[in-house]
């Protein structure tokens, strides 16, 4: 069995267009990522709000690196900071999911269903320090970076 690693990063959202366009792109990202990640044996969660993306990816080294490289070539976000990239004993996530994390009521209404649809389980996020930190970071940056 190949060694298991996890990667966590966050970045600032620069999805172009109005609310509908953003919604469409979010769905598109979800769709494409879910397909590719399940094929590559990657589990984890992509969290987002109007300001930020934060993602945890778990899996084999090459799968993570190929996926991350594709993410780095994507112009729809900026200011990428990797918070962790290290071997882990076991996966925290059972599959790959995506969730809107934020207070903005209208965004909550628009993107909330995505979490349910993707099988996002917040208790998994709360089970680990790194994931808890990501959740906090995302909430704190929601408004700050939406103003950028």
């Amino acid at each position: 069995m190949t060694a298991l690693l996890h990667l966590a990063y966050y970045s600032y959202n620069c999805l172009p267009g109005g609310p509908f366009e953003v919604e469409r792109q979010i769905e598109e990202i979800l769709d494409s990522a879910r397909r590719k990640n399940s094929r590559n044996g990657l589990t984890g969660a992509l969290l987002f709000n109007r300001g930020c993306f934060a993602q945890v990816l778990e899996g084999a080294r090459d799968a993570i690196e190929i996926t991350f490289e594709r993410i780095m070539q994507d112009d729809r976000h900026t200011g990428v900071t990797v918070l962790a990239y290290a071997p882990i004993g076991q996966r925290v996530f059972g599959h790959w999911s995506m969730a809107f994390i934020g207070e903005n009521a209208r965004d909550q209404e628009r993107f909330g269903p995505i979490a349910e649809g993707s099988g996002f389980d917040v208790t998994r996020m709360l089970g680990e320090d790194l994931c808890r930190t990501l959740l906090r970071l995302l909430r704190e940056e929601e408004v700050v970076s939406a103003d950028r």
């Binding site: 991350f68 490289e69 780095m72 070539q73 900071t81 071997p87």
Partner: protein
């Protein structure tokens, strides 16, 4: 800029098949540039050279195999951003070139900025997080130019322009882009000529030493003379030390030049009246390889100048790096009777801990404070503070750049020990200095106060 083809309506991303052609190294690039320049509808042609900043340090940290992997990833990332009708040359060592047909310099620069930003994003390489920055140079050749010139020469020119632009970008820091223009070329040409001429200057005996007297303010006596290196370029005339010393330091030429100045000035000083000492500037680079101490000992032995008539002026830079070793050299010099002055005090970092690190004989107050001394409350306060700092530490203070009687009187009142500047004398030739020393009388100094 050519719009990349859109693979599907949903995502404006390029498919793998629609990537730019990858050329076979530099040779492939030369051929491609020649072909693009020969093709009228490809004008104007832009060449973009992008490279990882400080690549040697990156590869030193990563090792060969991972560096190779990183390099391939960089080429891959650049290729993913480029349009399919562009051409890409992998130049190795973290560098690549992109040939962009039918574009403008502005468009190419916009892309360069985007590329530098994307390449500078985090890389994951074989389980490691690798953060690098990249810089880019952009050169654009207009139709008029490519039509008139010899094709082979145009290719060379465009490549050289892009390389110069990258060099220029790197000289202004990391993650920068630079667009070539004629001023950059002129600047590089001039620098290259100066470098080439500087290498020959010592052998061709184009340097000479100028001597500027320094008077003790209280007595009016000339107690020492500072030796200043001068370069008289055969075509350009006198070149300022502020211009050529940094180049000499970068080329490592400062060591032989510094040693030549030391020998020449010591031989001259041995002819002066015994109460007149000599001050010689020492570059931090002269400390390396343990050359300073033997050079000083040899110069004194060869010329017969007494060690206690030599003052070495060092800047704080000599104490920034290898400070422990350099302080050891200074102590050894001092044991032999050579005195040490701290030059340009008040500029740079001017950490007060330098004053504690070594018992300097003199502190030289930088001329930038002295020049606008009178009526400038801030300069007065700074100069006064340096003077009062020196006294209890047994370090005499020297004011550089003293130009007027008014400044001299102010310095006398505040208890500054020495004055150097046009007010006493401008730098003189060796003969000029000897005649000055014969002529100078203490009365001259008194007259200055009137």
């Amino acid at each position: 800029m050519n719009n990349p083809p859109i693979r599907d309506e949903k995502r404006p991303k390029r498919s793998l098949a629609a990537r730019p052609a990858v050329l076979a190294g530099k040779a492939g690039l030369l051929a491609a540039v020649a072909a693009a320049l020969a093709q009228e509808d490809a004008w104007p042609v832009a060449l973009l050279v992008v490279g990882v900043d400080d690549f040697k340090a990156v590869s030193g940290n990563l090792g060969h195999a991972l560096t190779e992997k990183l390099h391939r990833q960089i080429v891959e990332r650049a290729s993913a951003l480029a349009a399919p009708d562009w051409q890409l040359a992998d130049c190795g060592a973290g560098e690549l070139a992109l040939l962009i047909p039918s574009t403008s310099a502005d468009e190419a620069c916009n892309f360069a900025r985007h590329l530098v930003g994307t390449l500078g994003r985090t890389h994951l390489v074989a389980g490691k997080i690798v953060d690098i920055t990249a810089s880019a140079g952009v050169a654009c050749m207009e139709a008029s130019r490519s039509a008139s010139a010899d094709p082979a020469e145009s290719v060379e020119t465009l490549l050289r322009w892009a390389d110069l632009a990258l060099l220029q970008a790197r000289s202004s820091g990391r993650s920068t882009i630079c667009r070539f223009d004629a001023a950059i070329e002129a600047q590089f040409d001039s620098r290259r000529e100066i470098e080439a001429d500087l290498r020959k200057a010592l052998g061709l005996r184009q340097f000479h030493v100028a001597y500027q007297p320094v008077a003790r303010i209280a007595t009016g006596r000339i107690e020492y003379v500072e030796a200043l290196v001068r370069w008289n370029h055969p075509a350009r005339g006198p070149i300022s030390p502020a211009e050529f010393i940094p180049i000499a330091e970068r080329l490592g030429l400062i060591v032989p030049i510094g040693e030549w100045v030391l020998r020449t000035a010591c031989a001259e000083a041995a002819q002066w009246p015994a109460h007149v000492s000599l001050a010689v500037n020492v570059s931090p680079l002269q400390f390396v390889q343990g050359r300073l101490l033997p050079a000083v000992v040899a110069a004194l032995a060869a010329t017969g100048l007494e060690a206690d008539r030599l003052v070495l002026e060092i800047t704080e830079n000599a104490l920034l790096e290898n400070s422990a070793a350099n302080l050891g050299v200074l102590r050894a010099l001092r044991t032999r009777g050579v005195r040490i002055a701290l030059d340009d005090f008040g500029t740079g970092y001017s950490s007060l801990s330098y004053l504690r690190s070594f018992p300097f004989d003199k502190i030289k107050i930088d001329q930038s404070f002295v020049r606008d001394l009178i009526g400038r409350h801030d300069n007065e306060a700074i100069v006064r503070a340096i003077i009062s700092l020196g006294a209890p530490l047994d370090m005499e203070t020297v004011a550089e750049g003293v130009e007027t009687s008014e400044q001299l009187a102010w310095l006398a009142r505040e208890g500054c020990h020495f004055a150097q500047g046009y007010c006493i004398s401008r730098p003189l030739s060796d003969e000029g200095l000897r005649s000055f020393l014969g002529r100078w009388e203490i009365e001259d100094m008194k007259r200055l106060f009137r």
